[in-house]
Symmetry: D3
Subunit: 297 residues, 6 copies
Amino acid sequence: MTPRRGTGDDTGDEALTACPPPDLMLEPLARAALLEDLGGYGDVTTRAVVPPGAVCSARLCAREAGVVSGMQMAAIVFRLTDAALRIDILHPDGSACAPGDVLMRIEGAAAAILSAERVALNFAGRLSGVASLTARFVAETKGTRARITCTRKTTPGLRLVEKQAVLHGGGCNHRIGLSDAMLIKDNHIAAAGGVGAALGAARRAASHMIRIAVEVETLDQLDEVLGTGGADVVLLDNMGTEALAEAVRRVDGRMITEASGNMRLGRIGQVAATGVDYISCGALTHSAPILDLALDF
Amino acid sequence: MTPRRGTGDDTGDEALTACPPPDLMLEPLARAALLEDLGGYGDVTTRAVVPPGAVCSARLCAREAGVVSGMQMAAIVFRLTDAALRIDILHPDGSACAPGDVLMRIEGAAAAILSAERVALNFAGRLSGVASLTARFVAETKGTRARITCTRKTTPGLRLVEKQAVLHGGGCNHRIGLSDAMLIKDNHIAAAGGVGAALGAARRAASHMIRIAVEVETLDQLDEVLGTGGADVVLLDNMGTEALAEAVRRVDGRMITEASGNMRLGRIGQVAATGVDYISCGALTHSAPILDLALDF
Amino acid sequence: MTPRRGTGDDTGDEALTACPPPDLMLEPLARAALLEDLGGYGDVTTRAVVPPGAVCSARLCAREAGVVSGMQMAAIVFRLTDAALRIDILHPDGSACAPGDVLMRIEGAAAAILSAERVALNFAGRLSGVASLTARFVAETKGTRARITCTRKTTPGLRLVEKQAVLHGGGCNHRIGLSDAMLIKDNHIAAAGGVGAALGAARRAASHMIRIAVEVETLDQLDEVLGTGGADVVLLDNMGTEALAEAVRRVDGRMITEASGNMRLGRIGQVAATGVDYISCGALTHSAPILDLALDF
Amino acid sequence: MTPRRGTGDDTGDEALTACPPPDLMLEPLARAALLEDLGGYGDVTTRAVVPPGAVCSARLCAREAGVVSGMQMAAIVFRLTDAALRIDILHPDGSACAPGDVLMRIEGAAAAILSAERVALNFAGRLSGVASLTARFVAETKGTRARITCTRKTTPGLRLVEKQAVLHGGGCNHRIGLSDAMLIKDNHIAAAGGVGAALGAARRAASHMIRIAVEVETLDQLDEVLGTGGADVVLLDNMGTEALAEAVRRVDGRMITEASGNMRLGRIGQVAATGVDYISCGALTHSAPILDLALDF
Amino acid sequence: MTPRRGTGDDTGDEALTACPPPDLMLEPLARAALLEDLGGYGDVTTRAVVPPGAVCSARLCAREAGVVSGMQMAAIVFRLTDAALRIDILHPDGSACAPGDVLMRIEGAAAAILSAERVALNFAGRLSGVASLTARFVAETKGTRARITCTRKTTPGLRLVEKQAVLHGGGCNHRIGLSDAMLIKDNHIAAAGGVGAALGAARRAASHMIRIAVEVETLDQLDEVLGTGGADVVLLDNMGTEALAEAVRRVDGRMITEASGNMRLGRIGQVAATGVDYISCGALTHSAPILDLALDF
Amino acid sequence: MTPRRGTGDDTGDEALTACPPPDLMLEPLARAALLEDLGGYGDVTTRAVVPPGAVCSARLCAREAGVVSGMQMAAIVFRLTDAALRIDILHPDGSACAPGDVLMRIEGAAAAILSAERVALNFAGRLSGVASLTARFVAETKGTRARITCTRKTTPGLRLVEKQAVLHGGGCNHRIGLSDAMLIKDNHIAAAGGVGAALGAARRAASHMIRIAVEVETLDQLDEVLGTGGADVVLLDNMGTEALAEAVRRVDGRMITEASGNMRLGRIGQVAATGVDYISCGALTHSAPILDLALDF
């Protein structure tokens, strides 16, 4: 059986995008963020200045082009602040947006909308930033089989929503965390006393429901892995483009190949052309600038 | 690449047993259980009756033979109640015990030991019950390649510790929950409009780091799965022993095979002899009687 | 004043069953169980395979005869996953069920129902298991004044719902935890320096709103307790049937009598015939196998 | 069996005072209070003004006479802020203090002591206020069998520590909350359709481990209660002193008697002289002024 | 620029009162208080005695005159217990009430209303007590520019709602906690090595968005503060009335003046007449007796 | 009194840096991040591969130059995973680092260090990224009175640590959240019916301990603000450099001036030269790329 991998024309992530995680999973995050911002006293400006009973209609708009994420989250933020707000999502998570596009319309109590505005924008701007940067990486893989994937280098507390944002941008997801797949790195190999010992221990301990990946930095290490029977996935770390191409040839479909390390815009097309299955990039989540969004009244 | 699977002589789970999850992961559970039992007022009997300053030495003992689990948990329970207790684990998690064996020694304030006793026993008795029942299932697989595995039919809130208990009993673990592996069941297939559609959707959406299992109940369904290119794991549900043997033949190593449904003591040996890779059994966690443990002073 | 006790024709627990604890008390448990199963990513199979917008009608059915419990909990689980699900409970908690009976009907988004299915079943199967085992114990007390009661040997985190399940099965409840009643055991007596000292300390410290029980293992100990003026309840632990009968005679209505230790099906009728008021049994909650339930679509 | 009750020379509450609830039960409260005061940024004054590394010695002192409570809590507050602080309790909970008395000495990092000061004082002042007011009520019962007890009219969130403070002041505790004893009030009686129906329902549903109290406001109602066989405790609500005395005579030891309603300093001696067993007073916890404490450096 | 301060005819707090903090901020407090009272089993009396399906209409009434607070909180308490209750607030937070006034009407399931009654009253009585005491202090400032303000001497866990209660009573609020404004006290000054050093350090570290207050106990200390360029606010602590008047003269509008220490009813008018801007009083929150409220059926 | 403001030679933030918030405030964040990554099963790779008992020494190193932040947080992360780890911080928060610098040394159990590595790096890399970007903005203000400040555009959940990181980079902090200072924006002004009405309402409602800022976008709006008596701070939003200079002239020290909107590296020097007191920039926290850090063994 050839190990399963993604292809350039996959559309499955669209399924994950179309069927989001239940609000139940996002609400604690939204609630905590609101309470963090509301502090010990609530929105003292709005409480002092906005007349009781004032209502308004607000539009969450894009100020620049990109890919939208965080609409589910922003809607939860507004609803938690005031369950009576009417919320209409015009650009769902995963859709492209142009400057000026209205992504969401919110109507109801002005005080609630103003108090929730910043938290909603903090989520939506950041997550749309991740989706938009992902889309730029994905664009460079066009015409290849390579797929862009994220890493565990996510913002503490935001892993779920950042991983969704990567999906929204057209990328795909790596393991969720430490417990759902094995990724054997150099330090594991050193502690185990060699790649063979590490892979053997991993294979013995692994559930039949989790995958094993092993990281190599040189072609020699790759050969060593292949000599031990391999793993499900080989992570080719910090290799030059030529070495990557040679690695793909040597693996010859026996493992899923993933290139990582120094994966920056401008270089992706060339890496994708080596034939690797996946290109993983921590910057998608650890260094994406926000997408500029604003709430207009 | 032949899909990786466990073998009868695997020792890897011993690694997981030897290197337990950090206390950090178990403490919230221990803390919640203690507060549940302490109620709104604390241990009113002990507070009234035990003289302040009284110290004692207690032994957590087995009243029947089995396999020990829950010692890590019990130790956390005692330490949370009184960090000054001296705790000595004599039978670590995963070891066999005979009636009368002293599993753990606890010394220090009598009030703390008495107040924590029931919660510590509730964890240790229940988890040792899971480990001991698992060991009985495992014993019936002797001489075959089949391995015993648990399911998601765990006690709400106790999944992590019950899965560890299965390891302690010599079994191995299935997926952790809904998010770390795909298991396509009949209802998924019905909703997707057929096994081919379901498997196709799963393959497109699946990360390269998670596995796909598909459940079949008949050999015809199995053939249909094989016809679509298969999955990582096929779960042969509620099949008779002969059908299982035929299924293993038809799969012929192209998928990992897992038998489930009606897996009870006395039948396991016969199922294991069909050549299936895994036998999964919900009863390990949902219907295991406790192992009889007690605290002697 | 003769101490109050239950009688075989009591119907009061039906009141507790008819008027359940508010959802507020069960929701944290349901929420935690759902998040435990959903993990860090949600139900990846359903998200990938079930078409967005698919709706279905599911029936929670009994596969074997027993007494139902956990319907309140299962309904909360489904509602937390998707507040728009329509839920219809056909067999409320405390009712008997036969194989094939439809206990609950759930209609709405297929994805929500599939994602919540296992958690709902884990609660309902386990709690119906407790209720059903309790009912079997209760049946053996028929024609006597004895009542079946549970202990503090409950699953950590599930005490409230397991105690409700005991009510659903026709049993009654013991103290909730350490803070609401005094139960003086052998170790307390040893620490206090004798049963008289222990009882004296307990009486002095006890609020007028809590009861005092004392555990004895021999008739001599019972005489000692009676000699000190007694307690509200005497727990006759690990006594043979004849000794129990003699103990009941000696107590002569001055204390409520509770038999415990080695209380197994088949022996209950004989114990009940001794005239004890209560028979307590840890196995009701620590070793009940689940009742086999399933969700049919 | 005559129902157990307290007497004027009881010393049992001293046991509860000497053996406090474990820190585990108080820490969440201390932690929440500290985080409430620290806000989103910490103690900005101390951080700006106190030189790093500055150490000091502080004394928690009484500014007025009273009974000390909250020392366990204050110690937890300081330790949570800085585990390296040296804390010495000179006047433990339950001891009397005079103006100027040093209750606790704290040594270590000046920044930590200053940041925790207000929270520690808020607990200690409030709880000592409860203890001190209780002691004044208790003093008025001198020479009688009556005991002072608190109610459920406690500060939301502080029930456990306020109930301990009542013990420290020489009082005793009522039920903890709604689940550990039955207290049938006028509205329950109205809903049940009469006191007989209410008591009957209560007796049938009550566990053998919980007590039943019933509230009456007139002697006629008391007679009705006595006519139905009574309860464990009768709460004589809002009765004049003569009516109380008559009620005690009519009860004649068949129930524990508790007087409540309009119990204020100056009237207690007279109420206690009626022979009631308990006098309950909500003001102990809902209206006690703080005891003036301060932290001196 | 003259520092902003309040004046006797300010109405701004009415804005804060009219626009309360979102329920989101109060719900955790209400939920925790309900669970504290419900304990491990729920309201056992109501569950046993009140017939299932019984409905009733209850009125939350004032038994004495005062100022209402806690209606928002009480409404949340009832709704959390049963979302189907119909709640009608007749006297909103901040309004005056006379004995017999109906503050809130609650209709629906009798069991829910009875189970939530005590918690709702505990909040409403306590918070109305704070509001009512505040109103008495405010009344004594009539005709002066002085405003009454609270302190950080609040009940642990209740700071937000107690500060709202002070607003409801016509007072105004001080800083929320340690992180939102600087208040340099004697111990800070001692640690910093003098008032000049402390103020300098504070000014350098302070954000431009937070205010600095400094506490002085003598006119000499005040002169020293003025000599260093002052702060936004000077807290004149424990000064006699004449010293306060002299202090106001010396400050001459260059700082906001706040008098504190020994501020009791009967003295406030005289203090207010000195021309101080604010009078702060810990007793508003640490020693206010409750306002007597009750639930009538 | 001229409103207090910062100057170019301020050193006060160093005080805040030297005296960090107590670990108590950061631990919940560290704990949640660890549990997020550990998932439901712990670090399955390390548990399988690293021999029990293996110890190692690791160095947290900088791969590029910048300003360090997150060392307090990383130390908490490691300690929570294993309290026995020895941790030595060589470059404390706020210090500059060069490529190759060892920031922290960690010694102890290899399994614990490997399991905590990613979470520690996720915090430290992100926070050092914020500090380093801040330092680049601060560098451009050299020789001017202008100070760099952050905004509320922080990562949900990380506000406290990101604000500390801004301090570490030499910047200063804005308000913490919605409750500790008033910031009147265009939407508030619209809702209030004009800047005069808004400022009046704000002044009436504001505590004497919080500051009021008002946002203007044109010189005409500024004149309007000045005409109403102003606020503590005026936020000059999205103005060109010349308009900013003119605004500073018109304010003439009567309000603290803050420039915001489109504040990017390269433009700061020019903005700072206009004489504004503060330059606020959301990008410091919403778009800072991480500083490249790694753990070497």
